[in-house]
Amino acid sequence: MLIKSVKVYNFRQFKGEQSLDFATDAKNNVTIVMGPNGSGKTALAQAFKWCLYGETDLGDKSVFCKAVELEMLQNTKESCHVQIVLEHKGAPYTIRRTMRVRKEYGGRLKEDPPELSVASKTPDGQTKSIPTPELRIREILPKDLSRYFFFDGERIEKMRGEIGKGKSKEFPAAVRSLLGLDAMKVAIDHLNKVIRRYDESCDPHSDARMHGYARRISELNTRIDQISQRLDKLGAEMETADNRCIELRQRILENKASEELAQQKARLEKLRNDLIKQRDGAVAQMLEIFNKDALDFFAAPWMQDAMKTLKKADKLDKGIPDIHARTLDYLLKRGVCLCGCSLEKDSEAWETIEKIRDFIPPKSIGTLLDNFSDECALRAKNASGFFGQMEHHYGIVRDHAKNYGENEEAIKELVEKLRGREDVGHLQADLSRLEQHLSSLRNERELLIREQGSKETELQRLETERRDLALKDKSNRRIETFKAYAQAMRDSLNGTYSKKEAEIRNDLAKTVDSIFRRIYKGGFSLALDENYNIAINVTDVEGWRGDTEVETSTAQGISVCFAFIAGVIELARRNKGDSGLTSEVYPLVMDAPLSAFDKTRIRAVCEELPCVAGQVIIFIKDTDGDLAEEHLGRKVGRRYTFDKKTEFETLLREGR
């Protein structure tokens, strides 16, 4: 696979159509794309991933050009696309992913699901659209492996972990495919199909029992296939669930401290609610007291003044309560007092009664003043508690402000500490659910394996019986002969495949190790297991246990990744043309690959990679780029630079 060119249209920073042609010449196979930070190097490197697999590792998942979006009027349509032209196994391919967008009323951008198309050319030059584009891309470069060929230097640590362990089961299959074992693998699959065809084509009418055997064998084969497919699916599901469980356990462990913080935050939030309730209660009390006693309290000074004035005027306590002038008139008229004394006109008693008239209603207000005085006394009593009570409740409100503020500060601090951490409760619930699911998958697998074993035993027995029977019939004996050849071929190919695969794996292990030593130049070696997992071993320390993997530095990690990728690519290239192997050259598309290396290793990597890869495309920042270009020297076939116009717009220019 060699990438001839890429065209981007309205993709991320690249407004309108812009294109790059890559160096594919064997001698000058390096293309350098240089630019300052934020100019779109990563976006362009990710354009490959988006075009092939419909996804990117970019934080902002929207790939549509922001500069174009800003210019779009409401209710108008636009599109963006990435088109890659590449050559794979001698056939040219044009791969294009297009996304249509519409700016709705209100300015929101609505993105349609992207559409993928793959076209190739037939040997007679006719362009042919591939009906299953996803499948074809999987054959050209499986997604599982693509991240090693579309290489992001900024995510190197994660990649190192994956190369060391934890790759999916499809990974070894994908590596085997890249290393050219595909033809043997499909040949084995096809021979199995041929054998099945022969089983089904025996004449069932030659013997009454043959019909029964044919039917039952067909049923058993169908069921064994179903079981096998289900077991494959179960294996993949269990692996995913297992990995997810490991990840969840790790996250729970990492977030253990946050559990306590979350509990503390819950306590403070409860306290916040209590404080609010307390304050609201105090305010309500204050309002009630104010409504009830405020008038008395504020009128108290005036009442006191009034009482003083009345006292000075000596108007109080001289009248007779509830006695009116009309009462006295009546007594004088009747001539007899209440006490029974005679009230004769101008007598002393008469004079006394007449004097009293001055102090009673309507002539005097003494009684009213008495009543007023009583009222004042009562109100003064009410007002006496007003200030104290108001002070008490206001104290609660004032304290609330202080306590609430402190509590809010504490909550804020906890929220800060919890930011980015996860809710352990949710993680725990997810883990329990997943473990239950995993357990049910395991049970199902065990049952299926048991059933598969019994079905296979029955199948073997029936096949032997049927074969013995078939050999007695001339027509069936002929078919059994063909089948015997197909079986002999399959068994032989199985043996060759296993042997070749082991040879290639050993060869890969040696190649990767040798490249690693050239790049890293340290006292380490690499080992590869049967699933292509890499371990780093120390070679220059006496007594070091060879099976103990060492913790790697960033530079070692990157060297391992480079060595692994370069090893696969070199072997794929070396195997090209080998009879029986269907291998291919592969490119390396690298985003910021050298940022973690020192000068010595940059030189080593720059010298190594163009020799092993069929093509190297490097997206690099200007400072590293100068150094890379110095070491890559004659290998550089094409150069491009990013001309950053705005934060949303970058132009690509050929040359420096």
Binding site: D182, A183, V186, Y485, M489, S492, T582
Partner: protein, 55 residues
Amino acid sequence: MTKTVNGIEVDVEKANRLLIWLVERESENLRSREKNDTEMAKFIAKRIEEEVQCL
């Protein structure tokens, strides 16, 4: 040289020749995608029958 498979004598040389032919055809088909799985199985069966009948 022969070997017995399921009670039937198989000419090892002929089987090996068929194998070489098969892997070459598979490699070619992986490039051209001319035949699908079913067609390939038919194609292989036909070739085996032709070769074996020449015995």
